[in-house]
C-alpha cells in the first residue's frame, strides 16, 4: 500500500509543480514549501513502507508482462537514502535558492528525478527498470539545465552519454528478453545460471556498460565534472551524493541478484582473473586518476565533482571483491559518501551564498566569518579523507582490509594512493576557502541563516554518529548482504566482531576524546593566550596590512605540478592529444548537425529509436 504511495507522491508533486510554476517568480515561497512538504511526506511514507519489504505489486500489462514494483532490503535502503537527501536538499534550498524565478521548474524536475530513482530502485522486473532508468536519465538532464548558462552545454554532454547508455541498456533488455523469454528477475536468474557462455557474456556486458557509464567509472567519466559543477550548487550536492550511485545500484542489483555472483564469476579464466578483476582494475583507475585531477582544480565544486568520480571507484572496489568485508565497505561507502559530500557542498553553497564565488584562488580566511560552514566542511573533509572518527574511515577500512587479505596488494596500494590524493585536495579545499588570510573584500561576510545551517548541523551529526557507531548502518548492510547471497557481516555497534577483524570505532573515538582532553589540559596548563590580528604575522620584519596580500593558495601543490608537467606538456604527447582533439572536433562538427540543441529534435530521435526497437521486439515471436 505504502509502496505505491511512495511512487505516486513524487509524480503528484511533479504535476502540482507544473500547475504552480507560474507562482515561482512572484512568491517563490509557495513552491519551496510545497516541495519540502511533499518530500517530507515522501520520507514518512518510505519509513512506513518498511513492513512491506518483500512484497511485490503488479501494475499495468505491457508487452505481455506486467510492470511490477516492490521493496527489498537493498531497495528500501536506497529509498531511505534518496528520501533523506532529498528532504535535506529541499530544506537547504529554502534558504539557498534565491532566484527561483530563474528556475521555475527546479522542483518539478527534481520531483520527476526522484520518481525515476525511486521507481528504479523499487522495480522488480527488467522492463520497469528500463523505463524508470530512462525517466531518471531525462529528468537528470532537465535538472542539470537548471543552472548557469554553461551548465546547459555541459548537460548536453551528459545527454550524449545518457543516450548511449540508454541505447545499450535497451539493447541489453531486449537481448535478455529474447534469450530468457521474460522480463522477470527470477526467470532471468534461473536462465543465466545455466546459460551459454556467449549469451551470458553479451547480456552482462550490455547491462553493465550503461551502469558503468552512469556511475562515471573510468574511462566513461568524462561527462560528470562539468555537468555537475555548473549546476546550481544545492543541485550539485544532490547529484553528487545520490544520482551517480544509481548506476552502482544497477550494478549491485544485476551482478549479485539478477545474474547472480556465480554466473558472473563464470566469465573469466581463474579465481584471480575474471570479470571482477577487470572491474577492480577499472575501479582502481577510477579511484586514482580523477582524484589527482581534482588536485589541480581551482573551483571548489569542480574539485568535488572529480571526487564524486574517485570515491565511486572506492565503492566499486569494495563491491567487486564480492567478499563480506568488501561489499560491506562498498555499500557503506555509498551511504557515507552521500552524507559527507552533501555536507561539504552545502558548506560551499553557504560560502557561495555570501561571497558569490566558488573560485578557490579568490576565497580565504572565512573561518572567522562562517564558523558553522567551516565546521561542516571540516567534518566533511575528515570523512572524505577517511580519517577517524568520521564515517568515511569505516567504509575505507573495510575496503582496505578486504583488498589486503583478499590478495590484491597493488589494488590496495592504488586505493591508498587515491587516499593520499584525497587528503591533499581536501586540504587545499578547506585551506583556500576557510584558512589563510581573509581578503579585505570579505570583511562584512556573515554566517548564513538558520534555515541553511540546519541541514549542515544534521549532516554533521550523521557523519559523526555513523562514524562512531557504524553498527547503525552495518545492521542494514548485513541484511542486504543476505539478499545479495553473501555471508553477512558480523557487525557490532562499534564495528565488526573479533573474528572478522579488529575495529571498534567506539573505543577508538573514546580514546581519541580522552587523549584530546589530555591535549586540552596541557594547553590550558600553559599561560594565557591572546588572539591577534591576522596582520600581526611573521613576514621577516615587513609591515603587513590590508594592502599587502600575504597568502599562499595559487599553485598549491607546485612540486606535483613540477613533476607531472612533463606528462601534460611533453611535446609528442601534447601533439597526439591535440590531433585527437582536432579529430574529435571534426567528427563533432558532423554530429552537431544531428544535435540541434532543440530538445524537441532529441525527443523525436528518441521516440523514433524506441519505436524501431519495439517494432523489432514485435517481430520476435
Amino acid at each position: 500500500m505504502y509502496t505505491q504511495a511512495l511512487l505516486a507522491l513524487p509524480l503528484v508533486g511533479f504535476v502540482v509543480t507544473i500547475v504552480l510554476q507560474g507562482t515561482a517568480r512572484r512568491s517563490p515561497a509557495i513552491l519551496k514549501t510545497w516541495a519540502l512538504l511533499a518530500f517530507v511526506a515522501m520520507a514518512a511514507v518510505a519509513t512506513l513502507a518498511f513492513p512491506e519489504i518483500g512484497d511485490t505489486y503488479t501494475g499495468p500489462m505491457v508487452f505481455g508482462s506486467s510492470l511490477s514494483i516492490g521493496l527489498t532490503d537493498l531497495s528500501w535502503w536506497f529509498v531511505m537514502m534518496i528520501a533523506g537527501i532529498t528532504v535535506l536538499t529541499s530544506f537547504f534550498t529554502l534558504g539557498a535558492l534565491r532566484d527561483t524565478g530563474t528556475y521555475p521548474m527546479y522542483y518539478g524536475w527534481l520531483f520527476l528525478k526522484v520518481f525515476g530513482m525511486l521507481g528504479l530502485v523499487m522495480s522488480r522486473d527488467l522492463l520497469t527498470f528500463f523505463i524508470m532508468w530512462e525517466i531518471m536519465s531525462w529528468a537528470t538532464y532537465f535538472v542539470m539545465q537548471q543552472g548557469k548558462e554553461e551548465g546547459r552545454e555541459a548537460a548536453l554532454g551528459y545527454l550524449v552519454y545518457a543516450i548511449v547508455a540508454g541505447m545499450v541498456l535497451l539493447g541489453g533488455v531486449l537481448f535478455i528478453h529474447q534469450s530468457a523469454g521474460s522480463f522477470e528477475f527470477a526467470v532471468i536468474t534461473a536462465y543465466m545460471a545455466k546459460a551459454e557462455f556467449g549469451i551470458l557474456l553479451a547480456s552482462v556486458l550490455l547491462v553493465l556498460v550503461p551502469f558503468l557509464i552512469e556511475a562515471a567509472v573510468y574511462p566513461a567519466h568524462g561527462w560528470l565534472p562539468s555537468a555537475y559543477a555548473s549546476s546550481e550548487t544545492s543541485m550539485t550536492a544532490y547529484l553528487s551524493s545520490i544520482s551517480t550511485r544509481m548506476g552502482l545500484f544497477g550494478l549491485i542489483l544485476f551482478v549479485f541478484s539478477v545474474f547472480g555472483l556465480k554466473a558472473i564469476d563464470r566469465i573469466g579464466i581463474s579465481a584471480h582473473l575474471n570479470l571482477r578483476t577487470i572491474l577492480l582494475v577499472l575501479a582502481a583507475l577510477t579511484a586514482v586518476l580523477p582524484t589527482y585531477t581534482a588536485l589541480f582544480q581551482h573551483d571548489a565544486k569542480r574539485l568535488l565533482t572529480w571526487h564524486s568520480i574517485g570515491q565511486g571507484g572506492y565503492m566499486l572496489l569494495g563491491l567487486a571483491t564480492a567478499s563480506t568485508l568488501g561489499t560491506a565497505g562498498g555499500l557503506m561507502h555509498i551511504f557515507n559518501y552521500m552524507t559527507y559530500v552533501a555536507l561539504i557542498i552545502f558548506s560551499i553553497a553557504a560560502v557561495e551564498y555570501r561571497t558569490g564565488t566558488t573560485n578557490l584562488n579568490k576565497l580565504g580566511g572565512l573561518i572567522v566569518k562562517q564558523p558553522v560552514a567551516f565546521l561542516g566542511m571540516l567534518f566533511g573533509i575528515i570523512g572524505l579523507a577517511g580519517i577517524p572518527p568520521m564515517n568515511g574511515f569505516v567504509s575505507k577500512w573495510f575496503i582496505y582490509r578486504s583488498l589486503i587479505l583478499g590478495g590484491y596488494p597493488f589494488i590496495a596500494l592504488a586505493a591508498f594512493i587515491a587516499t593520499v590524493g584525497t587528503i591533499m585536495s581536501v586540504y587545499k579545499l578547506i585551506h583556500n576557502t576557510f584558512l589563510g588570510q581573509l581578503p579585505e573584500r570579505y570583511n562584512d561576510v556573515k554566517e548564513v541563516g538558520l534555515l541553511m545551517q540546519l541541514p549542515i548541523w544534521i549532516l554533521m551529526g550523521v557523519v559523526f554518529t555513523t562514524g562512531v557507531f557504524p553498527g547503525l548502518i552495518l545492521q542494514w548492510i548485513a541484511k542486504i548482504q543476505v539478499g545479495m547471497g553473501i555471508v553477512p557481516i558480523a557487525w557490532t555497534l562499534g564495528g565488526v566482531a573479533r573474528e572478522a577483524g579488529d575495529l571498534n570505532m567506539m573505543v577508538v573515538t573514546a580514546v581519541f576524546m580522552a587523549t584530546f582532553a589530555v591535549g586540552a589540559i596541557i594547553f590550558f596548563i600553559g599561560g594565557k593566550r591572546r588572539i591577534v590580528s591576522q596582520y600581526d604575522n611573521y613576514a621577516a620584519g615587513h609591515f603587513l596590512n590590508k594592502d599587502v596580500p600575504y597568502n599562499f593558495n595559487y599553485n598549491f601543490y607546485s612540486a606535483f605540478d613540477h613533476i607531472f608537467e612533463k606528462l601534460y606538456h611533453d611535446a609528442p604527447v601534447q601533439t597526439a592529444i591535440r590531433n585527437l582533439g582536432r579529430f574529435v572536433r571534426m567528427v563533432a562538427d558532423y554530429v552537431r548537425r544531428f544535435f540541434t540543441g532543440q530538445i524537441n529534435t532529441y525527443a523525436a530521435y528518441y521516440v523514433a529509436a524506441v519505436i524501431i526497437a519495439l517494432a523489432i521486439l514485435k517481430e520476435i515471436p
Binding site: 589486503i404 590478495g407 596488494p409 578547506i430 577508538v508 600553559g526 594565557k528 606535483f560
Partner: protein, 303 residues
C-alpha cells in the same frame, strides 16, 4: 598486564613513560649530531628544558580558535596512536584497531597541525603543509605498500599479531630478515616519516622559516615539541613492530629504539636537504619499486 588495575596503571602512566623516552631520545639525537660535528652538544635532557621553557611563556599568541584546537588535536592524535601501537607488556588497545587504523590515526596530528597552521595565515606555514602533504605521496605510499605486502603474507592486519608472528622464531622470523626488500624500503620511509634529513623540506628553516612552526610560539610550540617527542617513540616503535620483531621486554625495547634512532640520526647528520620533487622522485625510483618487488615475490611464493 592487560586487564584490571595493571591496565589502568598502564593507561595513566604510558604517556609519561613515552614522553620521558621521547625526551631521552631527542636529547640523545642532538648529542649524537653534536658529536658527529665534533661539538660538545647540549644536555641529555635538553628537550625537557625546551618544553618547560616554552610552556612557561607568558604572552602566548593565537590566531583563532582553530589554532588552539589544532594543538589539542596534535597532542591528542599522537597520544591516540601511541595507545594503539603495542609495546612490551601493553597491547590492550590493539584488539580494537589494527594497523590500518593506526595508519589513519597517524594522519590525525598532521591534519590538526595543517588546520591550525592554515589559520595562522602565514604563507610559509601553508607552503610547509603543502610540502608535507606532497611528501605523503612519497614515503607514506611506499610504507603502506610494505605493510600491505607484509600483512598479506601473514594473513593479518593486526600489528600485535604481526609482532607475535615475528617473535615466534627469534631473529630469523623478523620482518627485516624474512622480507629484506620490504624492510629496507620501509627504512627509507621511516626517514621521511620522521621528517629528518634528507627529507626535511617540510621544515626547511633557512628557506621557509620552519614552515608549519613559523607562527608557533610559547605553549603552541611547546605542544608541538611534546608531540614531536612522543611521535619519535611512536614512529620508531611502528617500524620496530613491523620489521624488527617488536620487543619482548623493556630492555630490548629501549635498546632497539636507540639503535634505530642512531641510524636515523646518523643519516640526518650527514645529509643535505632534498627538494620536494627530488624527494618524491627518489621515493618513486628506489624504495617504491623495491617494495613492489618484495610484494611480487610474496605473491609468487604464495602461488
Amino acid at each position: 598486564m592487560n586487564s584490571g588495575i595493571g591496565l589502568i596503571v598502564w593507561i595513566i602512566a604510558y604517556p609519561f613513560v613515552s614522553f620521558s623516552l621521547g625526551v631521552l631520545l631527542g636529547g640523545y639525537g642532538r648529542k649524537l649530531t653534536a658529536r658527529i660535528q665534533r661539538r660538545v652538544g647540549p644536555s641529555w635532557i635538553q628537550p625537557f628544558f625546551d618544553v618547560v621553557k616554552l610552556m612557561s611563556k607568558k604572552t602566548n599568541v593565537s590566531h583563532g580558535y582553530m589554532h588552539d584546537v589544532a594543538m589539542m588535536m596534535l597532542v591528542g592524535g599522537t597520544l591516540l596512536t601511541m595507545y594503539f601501537v603495542p609495546v612490551p607488556g601493553f597491547h590492550y588497545f590493539s584488539q580494537f584497531g589494527d594497523y590500518i587504523v593506526i595508519m589513519y590515526i597517524l594522519l590525525v596530528p598532521p591534519l590538526g597541525m595543517a588546520l591550525g597552521v592554515g589559520q595562522t595565515a602565514n604563507p610559509n606555514g601553508s607552503i610547509g603543509i603543502a610540502r608535507a602533504l606532497q611528501m605523503l605521496a612519497g614515503y607514506e605510499v611506499t610504507f603502506v605498500l610494505t605493510f600491505i605486502g607484509f600483512a598479506m603474507k601473514n594473513g593479518t592486519t593486526s600489528m600485535y599479531e604481526l609482532m607475535m608472528i615475528q617473535q615466534s622464531g627469534g631473529v630469523a622470523t623478523w620482518g627485516l630478515v624474512t622480507n629484506p626488500l620490504l624492510g629496507v624500503a620501509a627504512l627509507f620511509c621511516l626517514q621521511g616519516m620522521m621528517n629528518e634529513k634528507p627529507f626535511e623540506v617540510v621544515i626547511a628553516p633557512h628557506e621557509i622559516a620552519t614552515g608549519p612552526m613559523t607562527e608557533m610560539g610559547g605553549k603552541y610550540l611547546g605542544m608541538m615539541f611534546i608531540q614531536h617527542l612522543i611521535n619519535l617513540v611512536v614512529e620508531l616503535t611502528i617500524y620496530m613492530n613491523l620489521f624488527l620483531g617488536g620487543a619482548t621486554n623493556w630492555f630490548e625495547y629501549v635498546a632497539k629504539l636507540f639503535a634505530l634512532f642512531t641510524l636515523v640520526m646518523s643519516v640526518n647528520a650527514v645529509y643535505g636537504r632534498f627538494r620536494t620533487d627530488s624527494a618524491l622522485r627518489f621515493f618513486w625510483k628506489l624504495p617504491l619499486p623495491m617494495a613492489a618487488l618484495g610484494v611480487i615475490l610474496i605473491m609468487i611464493n604464495g602461488i
